[in-house]
Every structure is written in structure tokens, then in C-alpha cells.
């Protein structure tokens, strides 16, 4: 089997997500590439959670409507997804809850209760799958051993494996690679750029950055703080950045709305800061655990007044690593806020991580002043970038939210007001050149017909484009907009379709400034594009 998809589901609290992880890790050991999409409602007990695991030789990162293996921890899962079966795989269901059905009935509750604990029924279901798909008992046990309560889990896995039947053979095709989520990848990118302080208030789908970095606190040289609210988050982070720490904040649209005053403060006070905005379906509380790409306009415009910013839009885990690393380096280079606009289906999805991207992880030393007796925090020079000093040395460092003179003292003098705004705007052409130098527009395939996409939509668009013979153009920076590279990518294109997950077509409206847009393919039900959905629109 070169490319198959597994759906594992149950009620919240039944452990379908950890079972999905277990299966992903086992298949990773056989060298298969993994992409896991998590689908769950905003609740703690009950409801219906499922993970879709795309398993392929060539690292396909989108989900398909059809499912090859359906693993049902409860009856509800079976009923909801039975009609999606491809016929290439099989169903394995909880026989303790479902009397009789098509597929393999596995008494997972009985097994778990007999030799372990009832909660371990998810391990039992995984073991049934492992045997059925042709995974060796040894490889399965290697992974089960790493679970919490390994002894009991091993007993449950062994017993279930014994009882199950082998249905397939699975070829070992290569070495395992790290399995990371988008949020983990971006955290690592930030660490490579010297991240020292992370500030966040919990908000789905950014919360796992907080968990991941807090978990690294004892290992890594990073401090993680959870302030009282998002207003506190960004202002505290700006205080830390002023005092010399590479600081980052993370949130979703609602929290970012609260941070907007801080974005503006970073703008005028020229305090570097990286902001992770992981989108979910809005407006307001919206559909909190589901995806949308509807904060693009907001990220580009949040904060009152005129100031510059970077806005990057990664489309998978490797790009999340690279663009967050870059965002931090560029924010400190130009002393402007840098926003990484990611979305739920990257943040919380799990990827087989291509480690070659680590070569792009860099640490750029910021431009530092001499920091002697006299220091103008806002020195006006050729490039508008004043060398940085931090308090604690001989230099007096004066940051200001008001318009100010070069020394940082408040001013309302009309000439001074003009001078300092012009000073900050000197960075604009430099930032634009910098962005054009980097590969901020990716092109997959070729042809007269092209899909333009961004963020997580790129994953399904790329697969659909490949199948339909369309060129796929992915935009990774919206501020500054890589105009030259985008226009190069458009050469020879006669038909252009924009693919994104929002109701208005926010990126399409921006793209219209540079070219004609023939059609928009929009999805806004909170769920990711299926490959077939885009494909149907192209044929």
C-alpha cells in the first residue's frame, strides 16, 4: 500500500487522539510519511472526536473523503463514517458496544479491563489495527513502551494483538523521521532564532505552543510566562524585548484583537516582537476548534496609526519552522512587529518533519549600538534603523509610545513628528527588497492554468493541482507582498483560481491588485479542503 487513510474516532475522553498518535508513530517506524488531521468539538467529555491519518510513501499532506481503515472506539463513530469506506481496507470496531456489524469486531473494553484498565481500550484497538495491517508485534511494542503506564498498556496490546487476525503485509520502506505538529515546528524555529521568552494566554489553536515550550523550560534556555490576559501578554513581552530578550507571543484571532494596541505600540516604539496568530473560525467565539483563514485582513491591519510590519503565512510544519525563525530574525533586524499567521490545520496537525529545513534555521545578530554615555534610541540614519542598546549598561535607553525625538523624549513639534514618521518609513523599501530576495512565492508544477493559495489550503491545493495538471502558486508573505516574484510566477498563466478557507476571499481581493482573478474556490465550514473538492472545481 503506497497511500492510504485511516480514521480513528470516539467520544471525547476515549483517547482517540492518543490512539491516532500511536498508530502514526508505528507507521513512521516503517518509513511511511504521515499527516494527521485532528477533528474535535470544544468540549471535554462526550461529543465525537476523530483523527484522520494520511499515510503515504511520498508525503501527501491533505485529507481525502474516502477512508481505507475505519477504527471505531464507539458505535457513533461507526455510524458517522461507515459510508466513507473505500473498500481497500477494513473496519475495526468496539465489539463490546456494537453487537454485529460489517468488519472486525474487537472486544477492546473486555481486553482492556481484563489485563489493564478500561481506559486502555484505545491501545487494544491500535493493536488490532497493527496486526491487521501487518505491523510486527515487536515494532508495536517499542512504541507502546513509551506510553504512560507502560506495563499495563503492554499487556493490553499483547493480548489484543494475539486475538487479532493478520489481513495484510506491510513493507518496511525506510527510516523513521520526527513527527511534529505545526505549533512544535514553529516553536523550534523561534528557538533557533534565539527565543528567550514566550508569553501567552491559552487559546485554541495556539495553546499547544504554550504547552510545548513550557515543557522545554527545564531543558532549554527559555522562560515561559502566562500573564493575566492578552493585553498583559503583549505589553509584558514588549517590556522584556525592551530589556534585551528575544520575545514571542502566541494567540488566535480573539486574543490578537486584544493585543492590537500592543502591535501599534511595537510599531511606534520600534520594539521587536514576534506574534503567532493561529487562526480558527470566527468571528468572535465562532467555531473555536475548527479552521478558517479569515484573519488575513486583520493581521495586515491590526493596530492604529501608520507603521510597518511583516506578515508571513506558512502552509506546513517546515514552513512554520522556517518562517517563524525568519520572523524573529527580521523583527530584530528592522525593529518592527512580525506576525506569523498560521491556522489550526497546521498548528494542530502532525507532520513527518523534513529535517533538511533545519539548515535554514539561523540566528542573526541584531544591529547593536556602542551604548556609551550618549545614546539616541531613535537615531535617524540612512536606513532608519537605529542601533539597539538595552538598559543596564552605560547608555540610557528611552522607549516611547508617544511620538518622540531621537533621544526618545515626547514631542508634538510638527517638524519632529514628520521627521520621525519618515525615519521609520525608510525601512519600507529595505523590507520589500529583503522579502523579494527570499523565496516567498512557491511554484509547484507548470501550465497555463494556475491555483493561487496560502496557509494550510496549500496542502490540498498542491495535490489537486498535481492531479489536474495545474500550476500551484503559494504566497508565504503578505507584508511586504512579494510583487516581483508573484508576477514572475504568473508568467504564461491564462486562467487563475484562488483557493482559500474564508467567506470573502480575503487573499483573492489582495491578489486582484496585481492580476485578474477568474474564480475563487472558497471553503468555510471549518473543515479542511478535501483534495477531491478542489479537483472537482477544476474539471
Amino acid at each position: 500500500m503506497e497511500d492510504f487513510q485511516i480514521l480513528i474516532g470516539g467520544a471525547a475522553g476515549q483517547g482517540s487522539k492518543s490512539a491516532g498518535r500511536l498508530i502514526a508513530r508505528v507507521l513512521n517506524r516503517y518509513g511511511y510519511k504521515i499527516y494527521v488531521y485532528e477533528d474535535y468539538p470544544s468540549l471535554i467529555r462526550g461529543g465525537h472526536n476523530f483523527s484522520l491519518i494520511r499515510v503515504s510513501k511520498d508525503n501527501k499532506r491533505s485529507i481525502k473523503r474516502q477512508v481505507d481503515f475505519l477504527l471505531a472506539l464507539n458505535k457513533d463513530t461507526l455510524e458517522r463514517h461507515r459510508d466513507k469506506l473505500s473498500g481497500r481496507g477494513c473496519i475495526i470496531y468496539n465489539a463490546d458496544e456494537v453487537d454485529e456489524a460489517e468488519g472486525i469486531g474487537a472486544p477492546i473494553e473486555t481486553i482492556a479491563t481484563e489485563v489493564g484498565k478500561k481506559i486502555m481500550q484505545n491501545t487494544a484497538l491500535c493493536a488490532y489495527f497493527c496486526k491487521a495491517v501487518g505491523i510486527s508485534e515487536g515494532v508495536m511494542k517499542e512504541v507502546v513502551e513509551t506510553l504512560p503506564a507502560p506495563d499495563k498498556n503492554l499487556k493490553v496490546a499483547e493480548k489484543a494483538y494475539q486475538k487479532a487476525e493478520k489481513e495484510n503485509d506491510l513493507e518496511d520502506i525506510g527510516d523513521p523521521v520526527p513527527l511534529v505538529t505545526g505549533n512544535e515546528a514553529l516553536s523550534l524555529g523561534a528557538l533557533e532564532a534565539g527565543l528567550e521568552n514566550y508569553f501567552a494566554y491559552p487559546m485554541t489553536p495556539s495553546t499547544s505552543i504554550l504547552h510545548f515550550l513550557a515543557g522545554l523550560e527545564t531543558e532549554c534556555d527559555v522562560q515561559v510566562m502566562q500573564p493575566e490576559n492578552e493585553v498583559g501578554v503583549i505589553n509584558t513581552a514588549l517590556g522584556a524585548a525592551y530589556a534585551g530578550r528575544r520575545s514571542m507571543v502566541g494567540t488566535s484571532g480573539g486574543g490578537f484583537a486584544l493585543m492590537a494596541e500592543g502591535v501599534s505600540l511595537a510599531g511606534i516604539s520600534e520594539t521587536p516582537i514576534v506574534i503567532i496568530e493561529s487562526q480558527r473560525a470566527g468571528p468572535a467565539s465562532g467555531v473555536p476548534t475548527y479552521n478558517a483563514q479569515s484573519d488575513l485582513n486583520f493581521a495586515l491591519n491590526a493596530g492604529h496609526g501608520d507603521f510597518l510590519r511583516f506578515v508571513f503565512t506558512p502552509g506546513d510544519a517546515e514552513e512554520a519552522f522556517y518562517l517563524t525563525n525568519l520572523a524573529m530574525n527580521l523583527s530584530w533586524k528592522y525593529q518592527v512587529p512580525a506576525i506569523v499567521l498560521i491556522d489550526k490545520d497546521i498548528s494542530e496537525s502532525t507532520f513527518s518533519f523534513d529535517q533538511s529545513v533545519l539548515e535554514k534555521g539561523e540566528y542573526w545578530e541584531e544591529s547593536r549600538g556602542e551604548c556609551g554615555k550618549h545614546y539616541d534610541r531613535y537615531e535617524d540614519n540612512e536606513f532608519g534603523i537605529s542601533p539597539l542598546c538595552y538598559p543596564g549598561k552605560e547608555a540610557t535607553v528611552r522607549n516611547n509610545s508617544y511620538e518622540h525625538n531621537e533621544y526618545g523624549t515626547t514631542t508634538e513639534d510638527p517638524d519632529e513628528v514628520v521627521k520621525m514618521q519618515d525615519k521609520r518609513m525608510k525601512k519600507k523599501p529595505l523590507m520589500e527588497e529583503e522579502i523579494e530576495r527570499l523565496e516567498m512565492v512557491k511554484v509547484f508544477g507548470e501550465g497555463k492554468k494556475a491555483l493561487v493559495t496560502w496557509g494550510s489550503s496549500k496542502m490540498a491545493a498542491k495535490e489537486a493541482g498535481k492531479k489536474a495538471g495545474w500550476k500551484v502558486i503559494q504566497i508565504m508573505s503578505f507584508a511586504p507582498f512579494p510583487e516581483k516574484r508573484f508576477k514572475n510566477a504568473l508568467e504564461g498563466v491564462e486562467e487563475l483560481v484562488v483557493v482559500e478557507e474564508n467567506r470573502l476571499g480575503q487573499a483573492a481581493e489582495i491578489i486582484k491588485r496585481y492580476t485578474e482573478v477568474d474564480r475563487k474556490v472558497l471553503k468555510y465550514d471549518g473543515r479542511p479542503f478535501y483534495e477531491e473538492e478542489i479537483l472537482n472545481e477544476l474539471n
Binding site: E217, L238, A240, R245, L358, S401, T410
Partner: protein, 267 residues
Amino acid sequence: MSDINMETENTWCPGCGNFAIEAVTKKGIKKIGRNKTAITAGIGCHAKIIDYVNVNSFYGLHGRPVSLAVGIKLANPELSVLAFSGDGDSLNEGISHLIHAAKRNSDITVVIHQNRNFALTVKQFTASSPKGFVSNSSPEGNVEEPLNTLEVANSAGATFISRSFSGDIEHLQETMEKAVEHKGFSLIEVLQSCPAWYDTNSYYRENSYKMEKVPKNPDKKIREWNYDGEGKIPLGVFKKQEKPTYEEKMARKGKKVSVEEVLKSKI
């Protein structure tokens, strides 16, 4: 400019309590050392102190000087960090930051310029204005009751709580020094007259008294004056407690682990 003084024009009203706060701040910073101090301020009359004192500073947004100060102290615990704020600034707009900084015992000093109205926006009532206070936003008199600043700090767990009066510069100097010396979160409320909108000079002079020592029962002392005309006004230190600071508890181990190693654990 290596001197503590700035050449900026001072725009506070004659008789404003802010002058006394500026004077004692400069004196204090000279003792600590200019390069070992960082100050923050929000927005309001209080905040103009930033432009009058030549020291490391971050002139922030309305209500946020405490947040900035917490961030600065966390980033560089060697610095002495003071947040200057007003009653409108930190008891209205930014009260959550004040409460949580006290709760986590962040080792900063918060100076509340207590003039009991929004002065820079030309007289509206704040959380500290007495009931019946006639202002541009309460022409018939404030219908709300005032908040007791010290009670807020106390219930949040502040480890140092004090009050002084800008009309008594010696007491102010002494109390401010104690607040800055305190290891942990310290609050000093400075009662001050607002000559433009709310002249309370003689009221404070006639109704305040200095406590000889830190009271055994701070709760009771804190409630002695109700900010609304009832009770005598105690000045001095109400509470002083030793507790580990937030920064001590958050100190990093400093051990670096490579990204490659973290990734290895993800296989």
C-alpha cells in the same frame, strides 16, 4: 545627557503633587544608580515624569506600565524597576495587571499618583473618586463608591503596601525608599492634590496621620479610611512580608538543548 535632569519643559500645574514625586524619584535614582534603574509609565498627568527624569524608561500605553515593568524585571532582574501609574491608569484601565503583578510577587515598585480623577482628559471620575464627585462625566455627582486601593493590593497578596502624601516630602522620600528596597512587589500610593480639578491639599493635611510602625493587623488599618470622607487617613507602611519573588521562582536553568535533540525525542 548623563545627568538625571532633562531640559524638557515641565507642564504640570503649579501646586501639583507630581513635583514632589519627581523630586524624590530623582534623589532615589541617584542613590541606586541611573544605569541600574528602569522606569515605566502609563498615560495621564503622572506619566509625564518620563520626560522629566533622564533614566532608562519605557513610556507605555494607558493602564499598562505595570505589565511593561513586569516584563523588564523578568528579562533583567538586576535592574531596579519602578512603574509610575495613576488611579485612572492602574485602578480603571489596567487594574488586572496591578492585581496579578501583586499576586505573583513580581519584584517591582508601583507608584500610584493618587489624584482621584482623570486629570489629563480634563476631569472625569475614576475608580478612586468619592461618591458625589462632580465631574464632566458625572455632572450630577458620581453615583459609584470609591475603590480602596490598598485593599485591592492586599487581597491580591501584595507583600509591601504603603501610603504617603505628596505634601510631606520627607515622609514620601522615606516611604518610597522602603518600597524600592523591599524584595518583592511593593505598592506606594501617593495621595496628591490636583490643583486644577480636585484640590484636596488641606483635607489630607487635616485628616492624615503617620503610623509609628507596621501595624499587626494591616487589614483593619487599610480599612480605616474609606476614601469617601469617613475615618482618619493613616500614612506609612501597612504591610511588609518576605516571600520568594516571581523572578526567583522563574529563574532559568540556563541549560541549552539543541533543536536536533528535541526532534530526536519526536521519532
